[in-house]
């Protein structure tokens, strides 16, 4: 009965907007928002809440943001999307929580997945705790309008050249 109650509770939670995954380490990772629509070049914020659901305080924890493309053939360099992806959380007391925010730049168009993994700083053999992935949909945006480049590329040198020529002519006339 207890097990059935537990399963029902998890199902109820899973269907809610807040995604929580129970982890053997007792640390849960909740990301929000789970779906982001943005345009190429914009910045978005991803918040991750780390909660210690275990009976004892955790050791020092490390959280790391990963970025990957959901479309094959598209190379994503996570370093370009967000700096300081690795964060050192310190310890979490029982029932305690901490929220970290990452600023993410939309470098490429398409569907991008973001997820956060948490590992103890000391115990390398532990399985990382993760939350649900965030789906980032980046729409294209024309960031460089090449129309008008010729007037600029030719106009500025021509203007400076005219000014220079004018000065030389004026000097020679003396």
């Amino acid at each position: 009965m207890f097990a059935a109650t537990l399963v029902a509770a998890c199902a109820a939670l899973a269907s809610s907007g807040l995604a929580v995954a129970a982890q053997p380490s007792g640390v849960s990772v909740a990301l929000e928002p789970l779906r982001i629509h943005t345009e190429l070049g914009r910045n978005v914020l991803v918040h991750a809440t780390f909660r210690n659901n275990g009976p004892a305080a955790t050791g020092s924890l490390i959280a790391h943001l990963n970025v990957l493309s959901l479309r094959s053939g598209v190379e994503v360099d996570p370093e370009d999307w967000s700096t300081h992806r690795t964060r050192y959380l310190g310890t979490l007391p029982t029932g305690g929580s901490q929220t970290i925010t990452w600023k993410v730049h939309a470098i490429n168009t398409g569907k991008i997945a973001l997820y956060v993994a948490v590992i103890p700083q000391a115990g390398l053999s532990s399985r990382p705790a993760t939350g649900r992935t965030v789906q980032l949909v980046v729409a294209g945006r024309r960031t460089l309008n090449s129309g008008g480049i010729l007037p600029l590329a030719l106009g500025i040198p021509a203007l400076l050249g005219l000014m220079s020529g004018g000065i030389q002519v004026a000097l020679r006339r003396r």
Binding site: H105, N108, T143, L144, I149, M163, S164
Partner: protein, 269 residues
């Protein structure tokens, strides 16, 4: 018995301002400055055209294009300021015009200051010419204001540093050719660390070299903000060497350079 010292007519402007104004006139109305500006704008035009017509350019590459434009502006502007300053005293000496200037009642500090102003005007012009290109390339990625301000700050620090170095070399060089050669050699030496393999740049020694070198430190700072969208304070420690270099060498050029400015090693028959 001391004869009465006639009071000069009302002094309307300080010596450095008069020297600076004349140097600016010689540089810009004389045609040299404008020609350099035309050549520089052609270079930027090529970069901007190639960037703008590249349909496959992604967002990051566009930021890198803005970064490249800024780096070129800073490098070329600083180089021009260096060369102008390297000619400032040794060139006058070689053209036999220095003695007349030293005979005027303007302090040597006023002379070096005025000439530094003229040298730095080349950087100022390079910066102004760069702005429309940065605007064109950066407007789509929301970079214009930040890039312009960044270029102004970092570029000015580096231009002051290099112009001051050039002025110092010019004061002590035995000829104008020596002055220009030493200045160019120094510039090459300063740029060399940028050519080190990335693995060498990442170690503690490599990073130290990059940080201590004002040019590479400034270049690093600009790149982090423009390309990686770092905040101004995030990499602020990289600005230490450009700041210190600009301050120290400006002081040396203005004061020490003034103290040792002479006609030549043997200004006699």
């Amino acid at each position: 018995m001391e004869l009465a010292v006639p009071t000069p007519p009302t002094r309307r402007a300080r010596g450095w301002a008069i020297v600076g104004e004349q140097e600016l006139r010689d540089l810009w109305l004389g045609g040299r400055g404008m020609l350099l500006g035309v050549a520089f704008s052609l270079l930027l035009s090529i970069i901007a055209y190639l960037t703008a017509t590249n349909q496959a350019l992604n967002f990051l590459e566009q930021r890198e294009a803005v970064n490249l434009t800024l780096q070129v502006a800073i490098a070329v502007g600083s180089l021009l300021a260096l060369l102008a300053a390297a000619d400032a005293v040794s060139g006058e000496r070689e053209r036999s015009t220095l003695e007349s200037l030293l005979l005027a009642p303007v302090s040597r500090l006023g002379i070096t200051s005025g000439k530094l102003i003229a040298a730095l005007s080349l950087w100022a012009a390079a910066f102004v010419i760069t702005v429309p290109y940065v605007w064109f390339l950066g407007r789509g990625v929301g970079l214009v204001g930040k890039a312009v301000l960044l270029g102004l700050v970092v570029g000015t620090l580096l231009a002051v540093f290099l112009a001051s170095v050039g002025m110092l070399i010019s004061v002590f060089a035995s000829s104008n050719r020596v002055s220009l050669s030493v200045s160019l050699f120094l510039l090459l030496a300063i740029f060399t660390p940028t050519q080190l393999p990335s693995s060498a740049q990442k170690g503690w020694a490599g990073e130290f070299l990059l940080r201590v070198n004002p040019l590479t430190a400034g270049e690093h700072y600009v790149g982090k903000i423009v390309v990686n969208d770092h905040s101004w304070s995030e990499d602020a420690s990289w600005l230490i060497s450009p700041l210190v270099a600009a301050a120290v060498f400006f002081f040396l050029a203005a004061f020490v350079g003034a103290r040792y400015m002479q006609l030549g090693r043997r200004a006699s028959e």
